[in-house]
């Protein structure tokens, strides 16, 4: 039940974030979505994710607020995109309709199949020595994924430093 409330809150906050005119308010509203997500992770028994989401959210908010503060806050003018808006909404409606049909065939909420995972739970501690099964999965069973994840972050750090450097080109002689 609390999950429903959290999700509905998140949807409202998201709509506010998308529709509000002021950029700073928009960023703060998206922060609200993020912290609600953090709570939802706690309810879903995912403490690792809750910690990570919380700190990542703080960092993202600091960066986003610094990006938008002291900048002009232009009114987002709209109106002549009626056709586009309608077609986007149509696409979303079709997407949701078919996803409803597809969701019916998934196992119900709260009853995952857990075929492969059973082995992780049974042998995780004895095979890897890590008590935290999530850590055992990300750093032993699927450590290769984590190498990829570290590389993604590395790529984005190098990419950001490349994008923010100046000048980008040498002058032509």
């Amino acid at each position: 039940m609390e999950l429903h409330i959290l999700l509905i809150f998140m949807i409202f906050a998201a709509i506010v974030a998308i529709e509000v005119k002021d950029l700073l308010s928009s960023v703060i509203a998206v922060g609200a979505v993020g912290f609600a997500l953090c709570l939802a992770f706690l309810v879903l028994k995912a403490p690792d994710l809750a910690i990570t989401q919380l700190v990542v959210e703080i960092l993202c908010l600091i960066i986003l607020i610094r990006a938008t503060i002291n900048k002009d806050l232009p009114l987002v003018i709209e109106g002549r995109w009626v056709f586009n808006t309608v077609s986007t909404l149509g696409f979303i409606a079709v997407f949701l309709l078919f996803s409803w049909l597809a969701l019916k065939e998934l196992p119900g909420f709260g009853e995952p199949i857990m075929a492969v995972v059973k082995k992780y739970l049974q042998e995780g501690v004895s095979k890897t020595g890590a008590v935290n099964i999530v850590t055992a999965v990300i750093l032993d069973f699927r450590a290769y994924d984590t190498l990829g994840e570290a590389t993604v972050l590395f790529a984005s750090v190098i990419g950001i430093m490349a994008i923010l450097r100046r000048p980008g080109r040498k002058k032509r002689e």
Partner: protein
């Protein structure tokens, strides 16, 4: 089931923002919302009624934990999302520096 659907609605709110908003920051915000929604969706899929967090304790039964695999994958996904968001923000800041605005309609290539 309803939860899954609500989660996909959240995803679509983000998608709407990305596709229809005319401001770089709004687009980034929309992207962030999409990321939240897809992470939450995956974790919801792994929840189990009366399960407990996937951390071993000395006096507890092993097999009543929630599915740890989606949590591990979503951890990866959160970090990927952070990387993408930071990269996109830095690009947006450089664009702001060149044009003095976040408004797409004033930036020639991003129209349409």
């Amino acid at each position: 089931m309803t939860l899954y659907f609500l989660c996909l609605i959240l995803f679509c709110v983000g998608l709407y923002g990305v596709l229809r908003k005319r401001n770089l920051v709004k687009i980034i915000v929309g992207l962030g919302i999409m990321e939240y929604a897809m992470n939450l969706f995956f974790v919801l899929l792994g929840y189990r009624f009366h399960g407990r967090a996937p951390i071993e304790a000395k006096d507890q039964d092993i097999l009543n934990m929630v599915d740890p695999l989606p949590q591990a994958l979503v951890l990866t996904s959160i970090v990927i999302g952070l990387g993408v968001t930071a990269l996109v923000i830095s690009i947006a800041l450089r664009i702001y520096e060149k044009y003095g605005t976040f408004d797409i309609t004033k930036i020639k290539r991003l129209k349409g």
